[in-house]
């Protein structure tokens, strides 16, 4: 805890006094009070943060441009998009591309927004992801200063997807970063957001990202998160979305590895006709630990939510899925479907799943299903009977299992990247013909 205390003092001392400074102090006090969660806390029952708490991380204010450029070039998505790049949590203008932004749309790094429009930016901050939400959210708030601000005017359609790249490069000591993304989508607006987390091998960094956003009436947001870390990467993320009437939030979460990955996803459906749909893939190997928690609050009648999560676990990897749907009293005519399917490829792999429903209204259609199993022997036999060797057959079936979720990915470049990641790192190499 000491290291955080020192880092925080150094971080906050130059800040101008005002709302933000005092909020940061409150947030840090909250974090110190709560400490790293233990498995006694129900929401952290299956994820132990002891090892994370023992680590030392430093906070960076600059970055090595050469290393960052190299990493980015080697793992580039080749996507035609607006681009905002953070290197170890610090905005890198040289790598970003935010020029020629259309009117009535503001996309800027959080550090700049805090300089230019302090009040407006602070008004967006902590509204949904305040310091009481979770200890990591409080920690993020304490170190809030970098990230992105996205404001979409009414009736605006973002012409190109927005790509947020979080680079995590190797330095002498592991680095921690606490980026925060603030999003306000006006009514009838539409945008596609892609978050891409790229880590250098053996960087051992800790990323703690918070995204909070409000979707006004009939706004549409398509959100793709692609996170793939090496075996020593620590990653914690939280998304908090508030949805007004008839708005639609679609999100694709691809958590493809890390030493410890914890992804929290919360949608508040506050207006009639709002709809959320989540799909996600956990892909773990070696001794990785991947944990996804989703929560949908049906606070208004006539709201829908759909969730489809899959996990593939190999070696000694451990996966955790916790999906929760809460239907508030008087939120009638709800349709909430949740499904979770898990594939264990090794006897040492483990999955802990808990699809929960909490329902206080009677005119609802809510269901959830969870299955865990191994590859279907009859399907395997079918393939073998047609002359496909066992290795290839297993690989194909594993990929097919994942494909149900990957197929939904809206951008072909990302689809391909995920497919090759999953296929390439499967125990049996599958040669894929792409295009």
């Amino acid at each position: 805890m000491n290291q955080y205390s020192e880092a925080f003092t150094a971080f906050n001392k130059d800040a101008e006094s005002g709302w933000l400074k005092s909020q940061r102090i409150a947030a840090f006090a909250r974090f110190e009070h709560l400490g790293f969660p233990t498995p006694n806390v129900e929401r952290w029952k299956y994820t132990d943060t002891k090892a994370l708490a023992r680590r030392n991380f430093t906070l960076k204010r600059d970055y090595d441009l050469k290393a960052a450029r190299e990493l980015l070039n080697s793992r580039d998505l080749q996507l035609d998009a607006y681009r905002l790049v953070l290197v170890n949590g610090v905005y890198a203008p040289e790598l970003s591309d935010l020029d020629a932004m259309q009117d009535a749309v503001v996309i800027e790094p959080l550090s700049e927004a805090l300089d230019k429009e302090l009040e407006l930016t602070c008004g967006m901050m902590g509204r949904l992801a305040g310091i009481d939400v979770d200890v990591f959210t409080a920690m993020n708030f304490a170190f809030a200063g970098e990230g992105a601000v996205i404001r979409l005017g009414n009736n605006q359609q973002l012409k190109k997807p927005l790509l947020l790249v979080y680079l995590s490069t190797a330095s002498e000591t592991p680095v921690m970063s606490h980026p925060r993304v603030l999003l306000a989508a006006g009514s009838n607006s539409e945008m596609q957001l892609v978050e891409y987390f790229v880590g250098a091998e053996d960087a051992g960094n800790f990323t703690n990202r918070v995204l909070e956003g409000v979707l006004e009436r009939n706004a549409q947001l398509r959100h793709t998160l692609l996170q793939s870390g090496s075996d020593n990467e620590w990653w914690v993320g939280r998304v908090q979305i508030e949805q007004k009437r008839d708005s639609r939030y679609t999100c694709h979460h691809m958590n493809l590895g890390g030493k410890l990955v914890r992804d929290d996803l919360v949608a508040d459906l506050n207006g009639e006709g709002a709809e959320s749909s989540f799909s996600g893939l956990l892909f773990g190997r070696n001794r990785q630990h991947l944990d996804i928690h989703s929560l949908v609050n049906h606070n208004a009648p006539l709201t829908n939510s759909f969730e489809n999560y899959k996990a593939i676990l190999n070696d000694r990897a451990r996966g955790v899925f916790n999906g929760k749907v809460i239907v508030k009293r008087d939120s009638q005519k709800i349709n909430a479907q949740q499904s979770n399917a898990n594939l264990l490829l090794s006897d040492q792999a483990e999955i802990d799943t808990k699809p929960e429903l909490e329902i206080y209204a009677d005119d609802v259609k809510c269901s959830h299903g969870a299955t865990t199993g191994q590859l279907d022997e009859t399907a395997l036999f079918y393939l073998r009977a047609r002359g496909i060797n066992e290795t290839l057959a297993r690989g194909l079936l594993t990929l097919a299992f994942a494909n149900e979720v990957i197929d939904q990915l809206p951008i072909p470049e990302i689809y391909r990247l995920v497919e090759t990641t999953v296929a390439g790192q499967l125990p049996q190499q599958v040669e894929l013909e792409l295009d």
């Binding site: 264990l344 808990k354 429903l357 206080y360 009677d362 809510c366 969870a370 191994q374």
Partner: protein
């Protein structure tokens, strides 16, 4: 259907609400080591059991009330305000030796509850070990059971007559340190049933016990222990009703089942404790730990429960599937009405290779009640080819009740196959319309649909219990419908 109508229909009176006026030999409220020594001395228990109780008590004092995690809300229980021992028949300290010696008022009580001891015993061939508060008042058909080698008696009696057998198994399934209420029970349990079925014996009749809480302010802490040796079989029925009281009463029982190789234990419960009145005043707190241990290969334990009563139910009948190819089953119907709360479900712990478990849970909430299914399916790495199927369905009657599902699955084995599905819905308008169109009244139609909803569980109940359960369901939801 309008919710007002439904509310009207939901109202019904507790038919078993009466108090038997009988002198009780009751300890003053409070709990300390002295009380435990007193209980133990009154029951002439062996020294080791007293030590065991005291150890449990000392551990209990270090534990925390598990109020925090369950989806329940109730005021903090003052454990010092409860009397921990109550025995009927202060006039005659010695326990009755036969039914003729039993206080006629007691028998009358059972009569009112519809459990005519003699008749039922004679007609249905069921041996009834009726527990009135804490002391066993009458046991029938003992001789017939003894002939088969089956021991069926109260646990106090078993402690006198078969102390080694009790010592061998007591607390091996639910250790005294298991949880808060199990520790409390271990410290202060006063009576309960004991069943021992030796090797190769199929119990010649269904065993049944009626528990009944009578004296006011008495917590009832029974302890039941059922052991089936190799290839033995037994079906055990447990039914509960309680009279109307204003204060909440605590009921913290422990049930332990042990099944050795190829043994089969079927444990059925119909629980109809007093649920409190329409304002949610009074009612029983039912905090029960039930666990079965399939110790042997191919052993099978099956839990069936129909829970219609109690203000609060906190109950998770579980199976530890240790043996190879052992089988665990859980069939449950839980009905809550008015202000009742239930947090119930099961745990299936798979340790043995090829172990299988099935969970079918049906929850019906009406009025302002809240109900949760909380279940755990844990597959350990050694449980190769383990299999689980879980289905939990909830039916909501009215718009002020709640139905919740908290299924935990911890799977540490690639060859395991685990499935879970859950649905929540209300009675379909079209289903109702269909029935009513054919001349069936609304209430009958709802009863029919609800009974159909519970059919998967009722068919698991022994015959006469199934009839009773269906009747009970209809009574509980009398008018709940619309």
């Amino acid at each position: 259907m309008a919710s007002e109508e439904m509310e009207q229909l939901v109202r019904k009176e507790y038919k078993q609400g009466f108090v038997t006026d009988i002198e009780s030999d009751t300890l003053p409220p409070g709990l300390d080591e002295g009380v435990i020594r007193h209980i133990s001395a009154m029951k002439k228990e062996p020294e080791w059991l007293l030590e065991w109780r005291l150890e449990a008590f000392r551990h209990w004092q270090t534990m925390q009330d598990p109020q925090a995690w369950a989806h329940l809300s109730y005021p903090k229980i003052d454990y010092q305000a409860i009397s921990y021992y109550s025995a009927p028949g202060a006039k005659n300290k010695d326990a009755p030796k036969s039914l003729d010696e039993v206080d006629p008022k007691l028998l009358e009580t059972f009569e009112k509850l519809g459990i005519p001891l003699h008749e039922r015993a004679a007609l249905a061939g069921v041996a009834v070990d009726a527990v009135f508060d804490s002391v066993s008042v009458g046991t029938t058909f003992k001789a017939k059971l003894a002939e088969a080698g089956v021991i069926f008696c109260s646990i106090s009696e078993a402690l006198q007559e078969h102390p080694e057998l009790v010592r061998q198994y007591l607390g091996t399934v639910v250790p005294p340190t298991d949880n808060y209420y199990a520790a409390l029970n271990s410290a202060v349990f006063t009576d309960g049933s004991f069943v021992f079925v030796p090797k190769d014996v199929t119990c010649p009749m269904e065993l049944s016990t009626y528990f009944r809480i009578n004296a006011a302010n008495t917590g009832q802490f029974e302890r039941t222990l059922i052991i089936c040796e190799e290839r033995a079989q037994v079906s055990y029925l447990e039914g509960c009703t309680a009279p109307m009281r204003d204060e909440n009463q605590l009921h913290a029982a422990v049930v332990e089942l042990v099944a050795l190789d190829d043994a089969y234990i079927k444990y059925s419960t119909v629980q109809n404790w007093y649920p409190g009145d329409e304002e949610g005043k009074g009612g029983i707190y039912n905090f029960v730990t039930k666990r079965g241990d399939c110790r042997g290969d191919r052993a099978k334990i099956s839990w069936t429960q129909v829970e219609t009563g109690s203000a609060i139910t906190w109950k998770y009948p579980s199976c530890v599937l240790r043996g190879k190819d052992s089988v665990g089953e859980f069939y449950s119907v839980a009905v809550t009405n008015n202000f009742q709360q239930a947090d119930t479900g099961t745990k299936m712990i798979h340790l043995g290779e090829g172990s299988r478990s099935t969970i079918i849970s049906k929850g019906i909430s009406a009025g302002r009640s809240n109900q949760s299914y909380r279940g755990l399916v844990k597959i350990l790495p050694g449980a190769k080819n383990a299999r689980n199927f879980t289905q939990c369905d909830s039916l909501l009657l009215g718009d002020k009740c709640g139905a919740h599902t908290f299924p935990y699955q911890e799977i540490g084995n690639a060859s395991a196959q685990v499935e879970h599905e859950a649905t929540t819905s209300k009675i379909g308008e079209d289903q109702l319309f269909y029935c009513m169109q054919r001349g069936i009244s609304e209430e009958d139609a709802v009863n029919m649909i609800v009974n159909g909803f519970c059919k998967d569980v009722f068919k698991e109940l022994p015959m006469e219990f199934a009839v009773e359960a269906e009747a009970l369901l209809n009574v509980t939801l009398e008018g709940a419908v619309g």
